[in-house]
Subunit: 152 residues, 2 copies
């Protein structure tokens, strides 16, 4: 579980996920927060931008712009879904020390690796995050397979 | 060592690295090749696009567009420099089975992890790749530190 302040940041990620779904995209969102300040939000934009690298977390980190190493190293990344290896690797590259994960029941790949690299993981098991993913996987299974590099 | 055909693909990545340096950027380039066909090339565009996620390999994969999983799974990624964890994670996400690395003397972080994930790595130890990096690290050490998430 996460406290009310952290839920507020996760809610920003959820709002991004909802926006992405309304755009016809994949409903995964993220927020990057440093010392209580929201540096950026982002969402999966595979469909919207025809992108292979704009997952929720990477889009968020891109939207934050070029940051000094010390900022990443004091930040928490909020994401509606457990990170794929691309997004996990991005967090490891920048030494982001903490990731709050909306849910990991519909997808989980990188958590043991992230933990082995010293990243603190908090899983909120948020019902809204699960519902967004369940709906998408049921309605657009080919799109979801593409997003995680699997054959449909 | 790599054969002449593979050197041709690595040379495309080197050409991208040179272009990036001429643009004032970080001289790292990449090419994605499937069955002898070049799907895309790319280069680090941190400076050119103000980007935190456009490394040589991720820019190349983005430039290739949305591809079916089977294409990634039959491709080789050529890169002038040993991949950081973001780029390594991207290769793992898409199950790219083979990476040809121009050089790994100036930077190496992910190779043992990639090997543990079953990715075949070939290190060319190319003198041109090393020279491009040596020049950049000497002339722009702060930029290089930023690119790999370190304090300058």
């Amino acid at each position: 579980m996460i406290d009310a302040a952290e839920q507020t940041f996760l809610d920003l990620a959820i709002e991004q996920a909802r926006t992405g779904w309304q755009e016809g995209g994949i409903p995964i969102g993220a927020a990057l927060v440093h010392d209580g300040e929201v540096l950026a939000v982002g969402r999966n934009r595979r469909v919207q931008m025809g992108s292979a690298i704009r997952h929720g977390e990477t889009d968020c980190i891109e939207n934050a712009g070029r940051l000094p190493a010390r900022i990443y190293r004091g930040s928490t990344l909020y994401t509606t879904l457990s990170p794929c290896f691309m997004c996990a690797g991005t967090a490891v590259l920048y030494d982001i020390p903490r990731i709050v994960i909306g849910e990991n029941r519909t997808f989980e790949a990188s958590e043991s690796w992230l933990a082995s690299r010293g990243v603190e993981l908090v899983v909120a098991d948020d019902a809204t995050c699960r519902s967004l993913m369940d709906t998408m996987i049921a309605e657009k299974p080919e799109l979801w397979a593409e997003d995680i590099g699997e054959e449909a």
